[in-house]
């Protein structure tokens, strides 16, 4: 992958992060603290104004912490082809996101990688019209 394409993807992901937001992204999450975590899905909330996915993640000491990741709004996920059953409880996922400012185990995500190689990407450019 060329550096340019990678950069473009990163930028796209960054823009995706809060395009759906009903609140200021940078007020709630820290753009200087990107994280990538791997763990097991414990719950998916298909809700508004944002969906949430909860994941058990083992820290360096082997302690399990339940992380909350904020996604796009339910209807935006649906319009992009997501369905609640796409991420069943127990699925091993790797999630990229940005840490919450309030210090809790929480982040905003726009990229969830599933074991079968599928990537559920966030609502990139949801600020733009759904179709022409």
């Amino acid at each position: 992958m060329t550096r340019g394409v990678w950069l473009a993807m990163m930028l796209w992901c960054a823009m995706a992060a809060h395009a759906a937001a009903h609140h200021s992204f940078s007020a709630e999450f820290d753009i200087n603290k990107p994280i990538t975590l791997t763990g097991t899905v414990t719950m998916v909330r298909w809700s508004n104004p944002h969906g949430w996915i909860y994941v058990d993640v083992k820290d360096a000491n082997g302690k399990v912490v339940n992380w909350a990741f904020e996604m796009a709004a339910a209807n935006q996920l649906y319009r992009r082809g997501w369905k609640p059953e796409d991420i069943p409880v127990g699925t091993l996922v790797t999630i990229d996101g940005w840490l919450a400012r309030n210090g809790s185990p929480m982040a905003n995500t726009d990229k969830i990688s599933l074991p079968d190689g599928r990537k559920l990407l966030g609502p990139a450019a949801s600020a733009a019209p759904v179709s022409p």
């Binding site: 940078s26 450019a125 600020a127 019209p129």
Partner: protein, 529 residues
């Protein structure tokens, strides 16, 4: 044979109407009216295509909101007669126990205590008015309570989804003079009334709207939920025309609650306070030549020749919800800039307001954006948030149904403005046509809104002139001129295309899981430690 059937139906109607008679006067009167007019349905107003014309402002004539069954009075709950056919809701034993528990805990367990959307049928008999708009293809109901709306497809269209909604998914069809509405896709979080009557997500509601005379609709709802009830059951009650009521106003339940308990604090620099402001300044009237569309001949038109703006749209907003000026900061959706006047410039801020805008960009101020609380977006923000909207148009109204569950009603009949003291999140919007351009002038705004997530400022002196100019059958040019002498040194104008979309509205019930507000509060409070 047919005559005998009709007679039987009429007798039945009259009997049921008498059965619904409530103890209080309005119901008693309406029930009498129901019985009287059932025998003489020729007084029913009709649309040009011959359907009963349900349009107007209505409110229920019964105490069903407090309890569907016969009930004596208790604290904050006036007595009322049953609207249930057979008087008893056929609960399964476990569900009867659950209902009793709900009743005991109703002060906090009732979903309305958190201002959640009431669901169907409950919204139909809350003691708040609502307005019906009717076209060949749709019927819209706009409710005063929390600015909830229902869009009922009567043309067989509309998106089919597996999603559950607080207000369900409504599809209507005319059976003779009765509008039958099939309501599916309910969630399991709404109640039927204040008495704790409830259902599961297996709820299926079939409503029947029958006009008995010009001022009375007989409302029936058949309720089915095999997880909770032993058999289907039915309620019926009259909806009464609210004569002399010219507008449905706003009761923004959640905003009122948060203002009352201090979670959302007034800003005296921008909020309207009675006695502090003068009369609302007239909206700037800019009569100008209509920008010619690419093909005026290709526009959709109403029978009266006006452009037909109806349909499902979203603004190609150019990132306006993150700033009107061109912007390309990391982690903010880029923006091409939508400011057309002043050309090439920035917003013409007064110094104090520019300082306030910059201050609002501190993370600690994120909590203060009203949309983070799920409050209404205001004008013009509701048009360029990244959510679509549905336009419903009649000869005398344009109605904007906003996916984030609020509405704007725009009368086109040249009526008088509201008094200055009535201030609204979406203001008082009056529309008129200038050639093929719909011009909407909005006053009486409350000064509580932000213009976008980067905190652009407006006050209660804000007035807005919006112009919707059709470009072709599937696109409009949207323009909004904002005048706010408290905040700006001169009026300014933004413009963007608005494009027809595939699909349709999918309810965004923002309050249902708004964890963000607590997170933003943590950030705000953390900064004060």
């Amino acid at each position: 044979m047919a005559d005998r059937m009709v007679t039987k139906v009429l007798i039945l109607l009259a009997l049921v109407a008498v059965g619904t008679t409530s103890t209080h006067l309005a119901s008693a009167q309406s029930a009498a009216a129901v019985a009287r007019v059932a025998a003489n349905p020729r007084t029913v107003p009709r649309t040009p295509d011959g359907r009963p014309d349900l349009q107007g402002i209505w409110q229920v004539g019964s105490r069903a909101a407090y309890g569907l069954e016969d009930h004596a009075a208790s604290y904050r709950m006036p007595a009322g007669s049953s609207v249930v056919e057979g008087d008893v809701i056929p609960y399964q034993p476990w569900a009867a126990a659950k209902r009793a528990e709900n009743f005991q805990q109703r002060a906090t367990a009732d979903p309305l205590s958190q201002c959640y959307l009431p669901g169907v049928p409950r919204i139909m008999y809350m003691e708040f008015p609502f307005q019906i708009f009717q076209t060949r293809d749709h019927l819209a109901m706009t409710f005063e309570w929390q600015q909830v709306f229902r869009l009922i497809y009567t043309n067989g269209s509309g998106p089919s989804t597996p999603l559950a909604f607080w207000m369900g998914d409504s599809r209507g069809r005319w059976e003779g003079d009765t509008l039958t509405v099939d309501v599916t896709n309910h969630n399991d979080r709404t109640w039927f009334d204040m008495a704790g009557n409830f259902h599961s997500d297996a709820l299926h509601v079939v409503e029947r709207y029958t006009m008995l005379d010009a001022d009375t609709i007989r409302y029936e709802a058949a309720i089915e939920d095999p997880k909770v009830f032993t058999r289907p059951w039915k309620i019926s009650m009259p909806l009464l025309r609210q004569k002399g009521m010219t507008r449905v106003l706003e009761y923004q339940c959640r905003a009122e609650m948060e203002e009352a308990n201090g979670d959302f604090k007034p800003d005296p620099r921008t909020w309207y306070q009675k006695g502090s402001g003068g009369a609302t300044p007239a909206a700037p009237r800019q009569v100008r030549a209509t920008a010619p569309g690419n093909g005026a001949g290709s526009l959709r038109r109403m029978p009266d020749g006006k452009p037909d703006l109806s349909g499902f749209f979203q603004a190609d907003a150019g990132g306006a919800n993150w700033g009107f000026e061109p912007h390309d900061e990391p982690f903010t959706p880029g923006g091409r800039g939508v400011l057309v006047d002043p050309p090439g410039g920035g917003l013409p801020y007064q110094p104090w307001a520019r300082a306030e805008k910059l201050d609002r960009n501190r993370p600690e101020r994120g909590y203060d954006d009203p949309t983070a609380h799920c409050f209404a977006g205001g004008v013009p923000r509701s048009l360029y948030v990244p959510s679509p909207f549905h336009i419903l148009q009649t000869p005398t109204y344009v109605v904007l149904l906003l996916e984030r569950m609020s509405w704007r009603i725009v009368p086109l009949d040249g009526r008088r403005r509201l008094p200055d003291t009535i201030r609204l999140w979406h203001g008082d919007s009056l529309g008129h046509w200038e050639g093929d351009t719909l011009v909407i002038e909005t006053t009486n705004l409350n000064g509580k809104t932000w213009l976008n997530e980067v905190g652009d400022v407006v006050s209660h002196a804000e007035t807005v002139t919006e112009r919707f100019t059709p470009i072709d059958a599937d696109a409009l040019r949207y323009e909004a001129t904002v005048n706010d002498p408290i905040v700006y040194t001169r009026p300014w104008t933004i413009a963007m295309p608005v494009k027809r979309q595939e699909g349709g509205l999918l309810e965004v019930a923002c309050l249902e899981d708004n964890q963000d507000l607590q997170h933003l509060k943590d950030v705000r409070d953390g900064s004060q430690k």
